[in-house]
């Protein structure tokens, strides 16, 4: 006996509607706390280098995932970079068309030995090219809250 033999039309299925009623508050953690505070307070971008194996991380972290060493020091990088890859998003989260498509870039960050960072690229879709230099555009200091949108996006130079 097939367990679903009685059901020929999907729309006849009965169902129970519900949600998982949760709210989240994420702490940034020790690594990202430093990173986003530096952007917020000073407009600076912090990377870190593992004192043991030399691996470079951007944003800065408190440990090296490759050799597990503790990383206590950070260093400044200019925040500029190169378009490593990009995509053009025409649909919103809920599947509806966006008024203006978003250009989402994967940016190889200067001074980090190849670390990459995801953010928006402020450009028309047909003007974006892989390999172009980009620089970050920050919100005015008074509007910065310590978060990913303190960086408005990256602009091609």
């Amino acid at each position: 006996m097939g367990l679903s033999e009685r059901i020929e039309r999907n729309v006849d299925l009965s169902y129970f509607e519900g949600k998982i009623p949760v709210n989240y508050v994420y702490t940034y953690g020790l690594g990202l706390e430093k990173f986003f505070n530096a952007i917020k307070e000073k407009g600076e971008f912090l990377a870190s280098r593992c004192p043991e194996c030399g691996a470079v991380y951007f944003p800065c972290r408190i440990f090296c995932e490759r050799c597990f060493s503790e990383i206590t020091r950070t260093f400044k990088v200019p925040g500029t970079g190169t378009v490593y890859s990009y995509t053009v998003c025409h649909l919103d989260m809920d599947g509806s068309p966006k008024k203006e498509p978003d250009v989402v870039g994967l940016i190889e960050v200067d001074g980090t030995e190849g670390a990459k960072f995801v953010h928006f690229i402020d450009a028309k879709p047909d003007k974006v090219t892989i390999g172009r230099k980009v620089k970050p555009v920050l919100k005015a200091k008074k509007d910065r809250e310590g978060g990913i949108f303190d960086i408005k996006g990256f602009r091609q130079v």
Binding site: F16, G18, I20, P21, V22, N23, Y24, V25, Y26, T27, Y28, G29, L30, G31, L32, E33, I62, F63, E65, R66, C67, F68, E70
Partner: protein
């Protein structure tokens, strides 16, 4: 089985209600400490077994992937284990399989939890543990199922809350000597009975807290273990077992699935008389009655007899059969998976004679850690010897 497996190192964070660290930072703090404790570095680790509880707690889907860097999983054979509250003893069981099978000489076992992300508390995540169609509509809280089981346990053996409350007194007191402890307290039975009544028979001090925290151990095969340490603690038996998913139809007075898991572990370890041979145990104690319930399932007490052993002081640190000398989930805290692994670590330290003020007398040689979870239907057990 092609090789014996030993625990050679351990690490743990403090257990706190709300940590600033992310889950992966906590995982790293515990894992790094575990490696440091036995003089190893990440390159000495052949495989990683991660345990972590429902994704909904941390608000991170694919928590296994998310925690991988903090757990030392980078470019290694890495596997996540999950059986709800039973996870913390299930993860080392998987680590044991990795090494016992001969596939790997070492395995880093990590358990990390960040329950505080669910804000202000994880009840909404707990709600969807219940069957969506036949139970959720009744607006259950997780406490219901424990209150119902607690009540049935009392009814079956003619017990009262006063018989059970001393578990909280004992474990919170024991936790005063544990450096990770979140809720160490010196309280009386009346304090427990007079604490806020949540769902009769469950009062506030009958329940372990929600916690953030992480724990880690290093497992090594026989030859590697002897190179790494002169005090290996061997995992001689492992067992796990699951009861029916229809929790409302189980016999709530006795955890048969825990018995089955224990018998599996005892058989493997060659234990014939658990009450004589298991000198010290860390049964899972997220609620007061669970320590007693689990002692019975583990065959460390007759059915309904555990409260008498408690009353007689047998389960105190200086008693004949110490239970939860760490302070348990009730005292140290309950970051789900990390709690189970904390219990494994406690037995590891006790058998090595390194439990400091928590050390039980008599140089124990054989102990057990157990966890329990899913929809209160899984038992996970490891038996350890020095």
């Amino acid at each position: 089985m092609s090789q014996k497996v030993a625990i050679v190192g351990a690490g743990i964070t403090k257990f706190v209600r709300r940590a600033q660290e992310t889950g992966k930072e906590l995982a790293w703090q515990a894992s790094k400490m575990a490696l440091d404790s036995c003089g190893l570095s990440l390159k000495d680790i052949d495989s990683v077994s991660l345990g972590t509880a429902p994704d909904a707690f941390d608000g991170v889907h694919m928590k296994g992937e998310y925690l991988s860097d903090g757990s030392g999983g980078w470019r290694k054979p890495y596997m996540r284990q999950f059986v709800g509250g039973g996870t913390g003893v299930f993860a080392p069981i998987h680590g044991w399989m990795h090494v016992a099978s001969g596939m790997f000489d070492t395995c880093l076992v990590v358990c990390s939890e960040k329950m505080s992300t669910c804000y202000p508390h994880p009840q909404g995540a707990f709600l969807t543990i219940f069957d969506h169609t036949t139970e959720q509509a009744l607006d259950p809280t997780l406490i219901w199922i424990f209150a119902l089981e607690y009540n049935r346990y009392m009814e079956t053996y003619g017990l009262t809350k006063r018989d059970i409350a001393p578990v909280s007194v004992k474990n919170k007191k024991n936790a005063m000597d544990h450096p990770s402890a979140q809720l160490p307290m010196d309280i009386t039975v009346d304090d427990v009975l007079n604490s806020e009544l949540l769902a009769w028979p469950v009062n506030r001090l009958d329940i372990s807290p929600a916690s953030d925290g992480a724990a880690a151990i290093v497992l090594a095969g026989e030859h590697a273990a002897k190179r790494i340490t002169d005090k290996p603690v061997w995992i001689d038996g492992v067992g796990w077992n699951l009861d029916t998913a229809y929790w409302a139809t189980r016999d709530l007075s006795y955890p048969r699935y825990v018995e089955k898991a224990a018998r599996m572990a005892y058989d493997m370890a060659g234990i014939k008389e658990p009450r004589r041979e298991i000198e010290i145990a860390e049964p899972y104690d997220p609620f007061t009655y669970k320590e007693l319930h689990h002692m019975e399932g583990l065959l460390l007490a007759d059915r309904g007899e555990a409260p008498q052993l408690l009353a007689d002081g047998v389960t105190q640190r200086d008693g004949d059969r110490p239970m939860c000398p760490s302070g348990g989930a009730l005292g140290v805290g309950n970051p789900i998976s990390a709690t189970g692994l904390m219990k494994v670590i406690e037995i590891f330290l006790q058998l090595r004679g390194e439990a400091e003020k928590r050390q039980v007398p008599g140089n124990p040689t054989c102990g057990l850690a157990q966890a329990w979870g899913d929809l209160m239907q899984v038992g996970t057990v490891v038996v350890m010897r020095r």
